[in-house]
């Protein structure tokens, strides 16, 4: 049986990589993918604690997170298509309409 600690540490590592990708990447689609990576890391922690506590609440919560992620992906990619159509670029630095 793998200790719960290992899963939580792996989850933290994946979340950290997701945060770094979110800050570092410049392509808006890749930034969006790093959000999905962070959600996946949180899901892993949920399932690990669900197993450790012997309750299924965590797994049910993961299903809700996946549903919300699917909805978020649909709306987010719609927004990305709109941005790409209006700005002719996927670079987030070109999306600077609010900049003074």
């Amino acid at each position: 049986m793998v200790p719960t600690n290992y899963y939580v540490i792996l989850s933290a590592v994946l979340f950290g990589l997701g945060v770094f990708a979110f800050v570092f990447k410049r392509n808006i689609i890749t930034i969006f993918m790093s959000i999905e990576l962070m959600l996946n890391a949180v899901n892993l922690a949920f399932v690990a604690f669900s197993r450790a506590l012997g309750k299924l609440d965590g797994q049910v919560f993961v299903l809700f997170v996946i549903v919300v992620a699917a909805a978020e992906a649909a709306v987010g990619l719609g927004i990305i298509i709109l941005i790409a159509r209006n700005r002719q670029s996927l670079n987030v630095e070109r999306v600077d309409l609010l900049k003074l």
């Binding site: 990589l17 689609i29 990576l37 996946n40 892993l44 450790a52 049910v60 993961v62």
Partner: protein, 167 residues
């Protein structure tokens, strides 16, 4: 080393390599493919934890539906190699600092709470699919219905956002 531990390390290494590759790759389609590797590795980890329903949903919804949507949009928009300006290279420095602070915070939290988690281990059986369906359609039936409404709104929003302007 026991067999589950060996499987865990293989899958964990696969997930971390995929996540690092997501950052290193310049082209979004390569990043998307390495994200699929992460998701499949995580599905394997869910199986290892005895959460077979979550593993199946992970493969079908994340690895299937969401990533297909991503790849489709990358192809639709003909996304090219990402360009880094001098300012965006500087963004890596606060990024690293942020990740270091976050990692320190998470490590401190884990170090403080390990004994609690380990004490509660080895309890309950995890015949997960039956238990999950019982909880989902009994205790969480109103949130479950709300998610169907959320999906409906999201679909309509995506259609409205992505449709071509009539002019």
């Amino acid at each position: 080393m026991t067999a589950p531990l060996a499987v865990f390390f293989v899958l964990a290494a696969l997930a971390v390599i995929g996540a690092v590759n997501l950052i290193l790759q310049k082209h979004p389609i390569h990043s998307a493919l390495s994200l699929i590797v992460v998701m499949v590795a995580l599905a394997g980890l869910y199986l290892l934890m005895g959460a077979e329903f979550v593993a199946a949903v992970q493969i079908i919804v994340y690895g299937g539906a969401i990533m297909v949507l991503f790849v489709l949009v990358i192809m639709l928009l003909n996304a090219g190699i990402e360009e880094h300006t001098s300012i965006s290279k500087l963004a890596g420095v606060p990024g690293l600092l942020l990740v270091a602070a976050l990692a320190g915070f998470i490590a401190a939290t884990i170090a403080r709470s390990t004994d609690v988690v380990q004490a509660a281990q080895q309890t309950g059986d995890m015949s997960s699919t039956k238990g999950i369906s019982n909880m989902l359609f009994r205790d969480f039936v109103y949130p479950f219905e709300l998610t169907s409404f959320l999906i409906l709104v999201a679909i309509m929003g995506a259609v409205v956002l992505a449709q071509r302007e009539k002019s």
